[in-house]
């Protein structure tokens, strides 16, 4: 069976994929009563959305490249994720590798950890204690394996050791919609534990109190410090009692600090919309329910905290100045009286409790004004907005992350639970940026294939491209914006190369492939009878490159595999291809922002190319004109010479017979070694030289054999001449030999190459070096190749 996208050329820049298990179904022809035009007519009507033609797609079909992933329970993903108390997040398999390395003589256990891993994955439905889950899974595996007594003992003993070595408080997170908030809150909460603000505040208060307590003691001694200083002289150091206003300020500062110390703020405030009310938050966090006003509540929560912390940070700054004896009333009074969050340093923001708002993308869209307020403000509030419409056919979907990027000053990402390393990196970078942060988290988990495959299909099919915008990274787009972790970012769609039935096949993964995974969108795909081939059918990735006019006459299809591995063509309805175009447009926009296929660069290249082309064309014309003139001149001279000589012969004139062909055409037949063409004057001189040679027989070097040259079009590219001397003989762009530099070798080599050449297209001419030995013999040999 052949198909239009079966390719036989060397494919570049694509990635190989194992398509084992796939095959073309036997070509059994069209169903009886159907002709190819009938099939294509129905397909066109289906594509156009004619409701009378219904989808006939088998329910077991998957995009061909996903055939091997048909059983999600047999796929090792990065999940469950292990959240360690130290804040570290790692895949279970990596956690096992690290932990098993510390347990000695654990071969039976380590060999079976893959089974434990699988058992954990199958049993884990929500966030749970790691030791408990792993211990339970281990027991089940032990029971299932029914090992002999010794092995069973080893397995269980070492298993218990493994469980004991899991740090208390370690939790496991499954690949479900809870993963995004769980991972983010875990990382943020762990980061707040490094916050030692309270200790610093207490130290500061104590120092202030100590300073303040020294004052009454001095006064009680009855000694006037200022008078004492007068007596002792200005050069003598000594303390001066604080003035009344300063004492008052210090006391007020202590009071402010102590007031703050009586409060017990949580290190983390998690504001949740109704959508996220059920999420679990870390023990140390305070949950704030926001109902439908997620962003407003987040602002409110943050501002309340900021107001309180403004008093503290103001007091701390005052204390620091006082302790350093650097407080200057006229300068600092005004500054500290109006101290608010806008005056906070990054370090002070960092010391504040964190405010994280968790909701859905819909929550963000419903509160656009307040969302925008957060993103353009200096409030380092973190927004986690979960999206589950990965393969929607909504043309008007608002890309919140893209919208957030337009605010320029905020940290914005599009992440996915299906790519946890990107998720973790983004969360950490968001914290480090100390800016308003928006993470839109793709987290659909209702698909039968599971959240991992669904999420990754959305990434592969550009339905949900990952992006990260971090203004902290620099001033240019190249520094701030990246598409890292998207597959094959240089392409419109990821392209995979594999073999089916010994035929190379190039398979893309488009939005349509992603859409066909969604049950309620499968009605937009129609399975064609096996064996249908027509120039009216085009793989969808190629079809999408056609203009709207061109695509009107051709039908897009994609390859899908059934449970047995047979692959079939599915025609894609226009309602899906329209979204494909929209997704491609969005992806191309992101590519440009990331510097991939940037249109400005392409334009600049095109403009530069046109300038160069024009210049080259002009130069070509000039040279051609000059060449034509020279040719015409030569032709005229040659015919004059020929006529003159002919006249001399016929009239019996002196000078003897001169072959007019040799004398007139020599400059054109035998190219001069340096590539120039003999001018008419030179031709005349050669005639004169030849005439004079009859009177002066002395050998002048090349003599009458002319110069070496190769009849390049006859060259068979055998390498024989290059084996003789690769400096003299080189290939031209047609890979046929020519003489690049005759002086780079000896005459002997030239003759030997001529003798070796099977095409006999090398003409060695005469020797360049008259002192080379055996010239007489060599010239004799060379004479055979004139």
């Amino acid at each position: 069976m052949s198909s239009p996208d079966v390719i036989d050329h060397e494919m570049e820049e694509t990635q190989l994929i194992d398509l084992e298990g796939l095959h073309f179904p036997p070509d059994e022809g069209l169903p009886s009563g159907h002709t190819l035009p009938d099939v294509l007519r129905d397909a066109r009507r289906f594509h156009a959305g004619d409701p009378s033609v219904v989808s006939s797609m088998s329910t077991d079909l998957l995009p061909a490249v996903m055939h091997t992933l048909r059983r999600p329970e047999l796929i090792r993903t990065d999940y469950p994720l292990v959240l360690l108390p130290c804040g570290k997040v790692q895949p279970l398999v990596e956690f096992f590798i690290e932990i098993i390395a510390k347990i000695e003589n654990s071969k039976v256990l380590s060999d079976n950890l893959v089974r434990v891993e699988r058992q954990v994955r199958e049993g884990l439905k929500t966030v749970a204690d790691a030791a408990k889950v792993i211990g339970s899974a281990g027991s089940k595996v032990g029971d299932m394996l029914a090992l002999n007594e010794k092995a069973d003992h080893d397995f269980r003993t070492k298993g218990a050791e493994l469980v004991q070595s899991i740090p208390k408080g370690t939790i496991l997170v499954p690949c479900t919609s809870v993963a995004g908030p769980a991972v983010a809150l875990h990382i943020i909460e762990a980061q707040t534990r490094g916050n030692h603000l309270r200790d610093s505040v207490i130290k500061m208060r104590d120092a202030l109190k100590s300073m303040n307590s020294r004052e009454p003691a001095v006064e009680a001694s009855g000694i006037d410090s200022s008078k004492l200083q007068t007596v002792l002289g200005k050069t003598t150091s000594g303390s001066v009692p604080m003035d009344e206003s300063r004492t008052k300020r210090v006391k007020a500062t202590i009071k402010t600090i102590e007031a703050w110390l009586t409060n017990s703020d949580s290190p983390l405030y998690v504001v949740t919309s109704s959508f996220a009310d059920d999420i679990s938050v870390p023990h140390s966090a305070t949950k704030v329910k926001a109902g439908d006003s997620l962003c407003n509540k987040a602002i409110e929560t943050f501002d309340e905290l900021a107001q309180r912390y403004a008093q503290l940070f103001g007091a701390m700054r005052t204390a620091r100045l006082e302790l350093a004896n650097a407080y200057e009333s006229p300068r600092h009074d005004h500054l500290l009286e109006n101290f608010c969050r806008k005056c906070f340093s990054d370090a002070e923001f960092d010391l504040m409790p964190k405010v994280v708002a968790v909701g859905s993308v819909q929550d963000g869209l419903a509160n656009m004004a307040s969302l925008s307020t957060i993103l353009r403000s200096a409030r380092p509030v973190t927004l986690l907005l979960l999206g589950d419409d990965l393969a929607t056919l909504d043309h008007e979907r608002i890309e919140l992350a893209y919208l957030a990027v337009a605010h320029r000053k905020c940290f914005a990402t599009q992440v996915s639970i299906a790519h946890p390393s990107h998720l973790v990196d983004s969360i950490k970078s968001g914290i480090d940026s100390v800016r308003p942060t928006l993470h839109t988290i793709a987290s659909e988990d209702t698909h039968p294939l599971g959240a991992w495959l669904e999420g990754n299909a959305a990434i592969e099919g550009r339905a949900c491209p990952l992006l990260r915008y971090d203004p902290s990274q620099g001033l240019t787009w190249a520094e701030r914006f990246d598409l890292v972790d998207n597959p094959q970012t240089e392409h419109d769609w990821p392209i995979w190369t594999g073999e089916i039935d010994n035929q190379k096949l190039e398979l893309s993964f488009t939005f349509a492939h992603c859409a066909m995974l969604t049950t309620n969108l499968q009605q937009y795909f129609m399975q064609l009878p096996d064996g249908v081939t027509s120039s009216d059918l085009l793989p969808i990735e190629q079809w999408l490159h056609l203009s709207l006019d061109e695509s009107a006459t051709v039908l897009p299809y994609l390859w899908a595999a059934d449970a047995d591995g047979a692959i079939h063509k599915l025609v894609v309805a226009r309602v899906v291809t329209d979204v494909c175009r929209e997704r491609l447009d969005y992806w191309n926009t992101l590519q440009e922002l990331a510097g991939i296929d940037n249109s400005y660069v392409e334009q600049a290249i095109q403009e530069e190319r046109e300038i160069l082309d024009t210049a080259f064309a002009t130069e070509r014309e000039t040279l051609a004109s000059k060449h034509a003139t020279e040719i015409e001149s030569l032709r005229t001279t040659a015919s004059q010479v020929a006529m003159q000589q002919l006249a001399e012969v016929l009239l019996g004139g002196g000078g003897g017979f001169v072959n007019p062909l040799v004398s007139a055409s020599a400059p054109t037949i035998a190219p001069v070694a340096n590539g120039t063409i003999a001018t008419p004057t030179e031709a005349g001189e050669e005639v004169a030289t030849e005439e004079s040679a009859t009177t002066e027989p002395e050998d002048t070097g090349s003599g009458d054999l002319g110069e070496a040259w190769i009849d390049s079009p006859l060259c068979t590219t055998c390498n024989d001449c290059m084996d003789v001397n690769a400096q003299v003989f080189v290939y031209n762009e047609d890979k046929q030999a020519y003489i690049k530099d005759a002086s780079a070798g000896t005459y002997e080599e030239m003759v030997r190459a001529a003798e070796a050449c099977p095409a006999r297209c090398i003409h060695p001419g005469g020797p360049l070096n008259p002192s080379e030995p055996n010239l007489d013999e060599l010239k004799k040999r060379a004479a055979d190749f004139i």
């Binding site: 992933l69 796929i75 060999d111 893959v114 089974r115 002999n148 092995a151 299906a418 990821p494």
Partner: protein, 317 residues
């Protein structure tokens, strides 16, 4: 692709086998017999590869080494003298899904079983044939075998075997369709493990000659080589066996040999002053007979009748 790493498959059996699971009764070989080490090595390979015991078959003929199947907790067939190969070929022919190991001695294989040996090599069925070469008939108390050395005193030749020994490796190499020949010594388990592992991974008939000590009836045969590593020649190549340093560091006498070179393989294995160990020859392109003999094994009687009818219907009388 799809965020998956190379080791993405969790398609594992719900069973796990330890070394014990491949052990059967206690071997009754003499103390110090090289057969013990060979047995353990095979069991380790089975364990490491988690071969299903019920899908593994050990076949043997007659001799000390041919007790091998008794000590493996897999399926086994202790055959007649010299008849290990026809039985093994019969098994593989119709059950290509089984892992077949053949244990045969220098007498069993190279004398009475020589005819079957030749054809088993030519059939090139996917199995591992281990030749336990101790240069003597030991089970029957020391008679000369085809590989007995000149002058080796046995009960059949008390004054010493008069003929030069048959070389099983050169013989195997000379047989049409030969695809894998290696040699190792039973006293170097590291090397032996890698040799047998490579043999098992080879697609086709893997012939491994193991120089095997018999401490009772032919002790003198390999005693010197065991104590003087220079009498062993390590055959190595990038395409050969990759044995860890621990198994090779004692060998100073080394020879580079490309295992795709059949002529040189003959020269290497034909040396008489040293024991060459390593991969002598490998060619995975040779036809494998069980791929032909097993065609249609899943056909039902109805399938066969239908196929027959289909063919007969093409003829008109």
């Amino acid at each position: 692709m799809f965020g998956l790493k190379q080791d993405w498959s969790l398609d594992v059996l719900p069973r796990y086998f330890t070394l014990d699971d491949y052990e059967s009764s206690v071997p009754r070989w003499c103390a110090g017999c090289g057969d013990h080490g060979i047995l353990t090595t095979v069991q380790r390979i089975c364990r490491d590869k988690q071969l299903l015991p019920e899908k593994t078959v050990c076949v043997s003929g007659i001799g000390c080494s041919s007790r091998f199947p008794h000590y493996m907790s897999t399926y086994g067939f202790h055959g007649l003298h010299g008849r290990a190969f026809p039985v093994a070929c019969g098994i593989k022919s119709r059950r290509p899904d089984l892992d077949v190991w053949v244990a045969t001695g220098d007498g069993d294989c190279c004398s009475i079983g020589a005819g079957h040996w030749v054809h088993a090599v030519r059939y090139n069925m996917d199995m591992v044939a281990i030749l336990f070469d101790n240069n003597v008939y030991a089970l029957t108390k020391k008679q000369s075998s085809p590989t007995s050395q000149i002058g080796q005193s046995t009960n059949t030749h008390p004054k010493g075997a008069p003929l030069p020994p048959l070389n099983p490796s050169t013989t195997t190499l000379s047989i049409t369709n030969c695809s894998f020949v290696a040699q190792t010594v039973d006293w170097n388990p590291v090397h032996m493990h890698e040799t047998l592992k490579a043999a098992h991974e080879h697609k086709g008939f893997s012939f491994v000659r193991i120089f095997q000590r018999c401490p009772v009836f032919s002790e003198e045969c390999f005693a010197e080589a065991q104590t003087d590593p220079d009498l062993v020649q390590l055959v190595e190549h990038d395409n050969g066996l990759q044995v860890s340093e621990s198994g090779t560091r004692i060998y100073k006498n080394r020879r580079t040999h490309d295992p795709s070179d059949l002529v040189q393989a003959m020269a290497v294995s034909n040396q008489t002053d040293v024991l060459p160990i390593g991969l002598l020859y490998q060619n995975e392109t040779m036809p494998i007979y069980n791929e032909y003999s097993s065609v249609g094994i899943n056909s039902t009687p109805e399938d066969k009748i239908n196929a027959l009818n289909h063919q007969l219907d093409r003829f008109a009388i």
